[in-house]
Amino acid sequence: MQAPQLPTSQVEQPKESRFSPYQNNGGTCLALAGADFCIIAADSRLSLGYSILSRNTPKVAQLTTKTCIASSGCNADMVTLQKYLKFKIQMYLHQHGKEMSTPAVAQMLATTLYHRRFFPYYTFNIVGGLDQNGEGCVFSYDAIGCFERLKYTVSGSGHALIEPFLDNLVAYKNTDNKPTIERSCDETLELVKDIFSSAGERDIYTGDFVDIYIIDKNGTRYEQFPLKKD
């Protein structure tokens, strides 16, 4: 049977601006894991098109004493997702009398994202912290919940700028300069600052400040690092 013909109008339809439920507010997230520490960082610029809506809107949230999340993309989805995760983690604490481990938080985030498979949270997340053995760990995600445990990762608007440098400077890919000693926490922190300063030069959606969380066996330390405001 043939499908019924839709009636057609004689006049051209006026252009209609349709409502879009998504906005790209930009931003870059970065996490690096060491043997016994983890550094997780994101810039604090909130952009919309060529405008800067705010210079000081954090993208990193501390979820437990040894887990942090950083999210870029759509601010509305980011706020909602982080609020939801904090709520679930608090309920876990009440029900089980202990904190959720970082790999457990990572799995929960994946499940949460996939629940919205057909109306996704438009966020690019990174989870960083220490695992049950006190080892630094980083989890990288796509917007619909595919995830992977890694040693380092970057996501958001500065992704394409930073990733190849991390491949070279952290994983020592495409080089013969393989050092025998691992980078210390302080050296890694300097690397993170340099990376964000450089990304801020080329990516208009990265700038203003970097919120850095340094997680080690002593707990979590916060540091704010200024970037160029242009």
């Binding site: 839709l6 057609t8 919309l48 809107t57 759509c74 509305a76 109306f119």
Partner: protein, 233 residues
Amino acid sequence: MKTKPVAEPSTRTQQPIVTGTGVLGIKYNGGVMLACDTLGSYGSLARFRTVKRLEKVGDFTVVGASGDLSDFQKISSMLREMSTSDSAYDDGCNMTPRDIHQYLGRVMYNRRNKFDPLWNELVVAGFRDGKPFLGAVDLIGTMYEDDIIATSFGNYVCLPLMRKAGTNLSKEEAKQVMENCLRVLYYRNTKSSTKIQIATVSAEGVEIGEPFEISTYWGYSAFQHTEYHGKRL
């Protein structure tokens, strides 16, 4: 003539009808100030000349709105209902400006999830426990706090002027900045008017001023069209 098929009937997705433009918010020494004009535009028609777009919520907060004015009236009635029940509990516990900002953010996000948005950009200003609050919410549910906020066209025209002025201002200076920003906005934004309203929130409480006219000056050489006049005056 080639014809296009009729678009699917739309039942929920809407467009703003009667709209208000830019709302400005700035922190100053000892308080927060909101300012906007009082024009309700119907497309490019200046339809309603005195529409108040600043709403007091509770004892410490003012909400200002740009975008669809009927949606703002709906939001206002929701906020009024909420603050009535809040005070009816009589438990000495009131919603803070930040609470109201978060509430509005959830409402807006919830409506966008239903593809039935409340077509507004809202600015929340408040003063509680000696601390000023200034936050913004939009129709998607984007939420942020800052010292300086401007919505819609004001984001392009007024925000740079406000950043230049800074936040180390007295109340009188802040008022001058706001008036000047709305004047400059009126020069370039076809949907602005010269009838404006200013609200302040400080330790003394909420004060929403009555609408008043601001002056304009059109004698600047940059406003002279040489192509029409032959030469600059």
